[in-house]
Symmetry: C2
Subunit: 464 residues, 2 copies
């Protein structure tokens, strides 16, 4: 194996929480002598050295050069192999804020730790056999998840859901390969009772191929949950775009605002519909502008609509469809991306029941005043994002690496199935099966190169 970017023997340290003013910050360390080195910069040196794994010691971090107490902390001690990395580890719970974190990190560096690279803790956990690669990747996904549902899917992978699925597929592959290799090693005339029987069942190969293909396909859904889907609101001026935008945001805000201290600006136009993260763009503002850059605004609206995964096209029910609307709708190429809304149904002057006959076919009636139609709209958004069947399986992948490896395995099995159907010579089939097995092994990390590992872990945040 080529060398990893970083020496895995060094004692490492990194901030594992954000660089914000906060009550607490966590600084993580790991390494075979992490406890000894940490105790050298700790006021209660003996207490830390003797601490059992899984216990917490109170004290001060001390600058080893000046002897000055630089912060009051709790130090949690973990002893190998019962730690995140599988090595000895001390986690410091110090005061939040940049100066506190800086002085503690500086004391740790003077004490012999080096800055950890992004993902280095998880990479060590992988190297030490604490996690397979699918779980290691989930560590990153869980931190960057945008919705509770995305978090839950990543947690499932972290808990080994994907690893188990891959292991099941590998077992079926291995059974096939064994029976093929048995015949290759011992020509059939040497074996009793199996004479003449072709060792591969074309149907079983095709089923396995289909199962691998379905898992590869789940990448689409995984990507929806990981990256979200851009949704553009379109329609003529005064079609009710801004009201609907605000309604969708407000519905979601109610959830966000339960949470104290949310201050990330970009959340403002992210909404969550049935656990799916959607990035909502209102093209209204771009068009309604009175200043001379209006032409630019219209151009940008067009770009937003072109790039959106889903377009909500609003028609004001009190005005009805006109030529401009019909031109937009008929000119829209990908019907599955388009959701047509019949807006402002609250203002239709109906006596009692509204008249459904008035609603053009394929339009969903909505009211931003009463919220009527919001459920239907959410169903339509979910269907446009995930397809009619929604999410049928809790095990989905969201890593392109995994998708590509599954596709490679699937292709090898397509070839195997063709060979089996023709009862072709076994050498070629065995090679294909071995390749499929290698691809699955690479997913979980049984087969992996330093390049792959460096690439996977370099996307992580520091401290993971």
């Amino acid at each position: 194996m080529k060398e990893l970017t970083y020496n895995t023997e060094d004692p490492i340290a990194a901030l594992a929480t954000g660089w914000e003013e906060s009550a607490i910050a966590v600084i993580r360390t790991s390494g075979s002598d992490a406890i000894g080195l940490a105790s050298n910069i700790f006021s209660n040196k003996g207490g830390l050295q003797k601490a059992e794994g899984g216990t917490i010691v109170y004290g001060y971090v001390v600058d080893p050069e000046t002897g000055e107490r630089v912060d009051e902390v709790l130090a949690a001690v973990f002893r190998a192999p019962k730690s995140y990395t599988g090595e000895d580890s001390v986690e410091f719970y110090c005061h939040g804020g940049i100066p506190a974190v800086s002085v503690v990190l500086s004391a740790l560096k003077k004490g012999g730790f080096r800055d950890a690279a992004p993902g280095e803790f998880t990479m060590r956990a992988f190297i030490n056999g604490k996690l397979d690669l699918t779980r290691a990747e989930a560590v990153h996904e869980i931190v960057t998840a945008r919705t509770a549902r995305a978090h839950s899917l990543a947690l499932n992978r972290l808990s080994g859901g994907l690893e188990k699925r891959i292991d099941g597929l590998k077992k079926r592959l291995l059974d096939m390969l064994s029976s093929v290799e048995l015949l290759l090693d011992y020509p059939e005339d040497e074996l009793d009772g199996q004479a003449g029987e072709y060792p591969l069942d074309a149907k079983a190969v095709s089923e396995l191929c289909a199962d691998i293909g379905r898992l590869a396909e789940s990448f689409k859904a995984g990507k929806v949950f990981r990256d979200g889907v851009p949704v553009a609101l379109a329609g003529r001026t005064n079609a009710g775009k801004s009201s609907l935008f605000n309604l969708l945001l407000r519905e979601d805000r109610a959830i966000v605002s339960e949470v104290h201290g949310t201050t990330r600006d970009y959340i403002e136009s992210w909404i969550t519909v049935k656990g799916i993260p959607l990035r909502l763009f209102d093209t209204a503002g771009l068009r309604a502008s009175d200043n001379p850059v209006e032409a630019e605004g219209i151009k940008r609206s067009g770009e937003v609509i072109a790039e959106a995964g889903i377009v909500l096209y609003l028609v004001d029910s009190t005005e009805g469809l006109n030529e401009e609307d019909e031109a937009f709708i008929s000119g829209f190429e990908d019907a599955e991306r388009l959701i047509k809304l019949w807006s402002k149904i609250d203002t239709v002057p109906a006596a009692g029941e509204e008249n459904d006959a008035d609603i053009p076919e394929g339009f969903i009636p909505v009211s931003s005043v009463s919220g009527k139609g919001l459920n239907d709209l959410e169903d339509a958004l979910s269907e446009a994002a995930l397809g009619r069947k929604g999410l049928e399986d809790d095990v989905v992948i969201d890593s392109m690496r995994q998708r590509d490896l599954l596709s490679r395995a699937k292709e090898a099995l397509v070839n195997t199935a063709a060979a089996a159907a023709e009862e072709a010579p076994l050498d070629a089939a065995a090679m294909e099966l071995r390749d499929a097995l290698d691809a699955l092994g690479e997913i979980t990390g049984e087969v992996s190169s330093a390049d792959i590992l460096n690439n996977i872990f370099s996307n992580f945040c520091v401290g993971k």
Copy 2:
């Protein structure tokens, strides 16, 4: 005592780290039944219930309504009184990121915890006698400190430096008050050997008064470390302001960039000089603009200069002083706020040594190219911020509340000293001494009202 804003019996929970994508987030809980309630939403219920204080249990947080595992966590158990608040407490170390934190907080709320108010953990620590008020206030200051020196001053207060100082002052006050009250309770003719001796030593009273006054005065320095000092760069176009600005920023950047992941934009123009946080404003950009709002730019430059705590005025040494420079300098009212710089000394075409005689009196020669003069400039900045003597004492206050109470105590002692000098009747002196003692008691929180507490703790971040 009036009621506190929040019921101190409720089990409380809050995020103690920032709302950012990060490896780890810490969610803190406290309350007399915190361990029981937390174990109800924990996969390893028995393990958490039986855990000793200061130990860590691995498991999953479980939504009590759905039974779903919502995050993989470490739970640290603290048992009263050995906890931050003095109550039973569980801290959850869960995955960072908004969804992970949201689902864990939501499970805690369903499990019987309520959101903690800002500062509520520290308020409970105060109420339960874990901290006096000077230390409780330092908890907030330590988190919001801008430089390592400011952090160190706050850590000193947190460790009880100010509390001890106040206790010492109180003891001296109490001794004086006792001797006065002894005479008031037992008129002098009843006491042997003390007949005729006035119980207050005017010199001792004055010394105590001066010590209290010095501590009150340290508020100025404390405020410098807490809030920083705005520093404006001024001078004619091409005097070298932007180069110096960049040099000062770069010097500091070298320190900041040692630290991975620093992304807070506002740091960009904060610099640290001898541990003092300075907010650097370059007025150059405002003036050099070519567009029609130049007049507005000059007006804003003037405002920045007027509001700055320190003004660095640059004169290009290759051009020399002109009338505009002399008008600015002579028109500047507060000489202590003005630092005059003789810039671009690198470009003076001197053969060998530069000629110091060329430098006008009171100017510091600097070169943004070679960095020459930077040390002298830093000395001058420190002196302008803190005075010629710098920081003489590690115990400084940075709370206006403490300053006002110290001033009240000082005033009472000024009156006492006057009474003592005249050997005035003792009743009035006793009243003044009691008032001074009350003021000092209020600083540490022996004497405190609900209003004061609510006011102090409401400035804290949530989770502290």
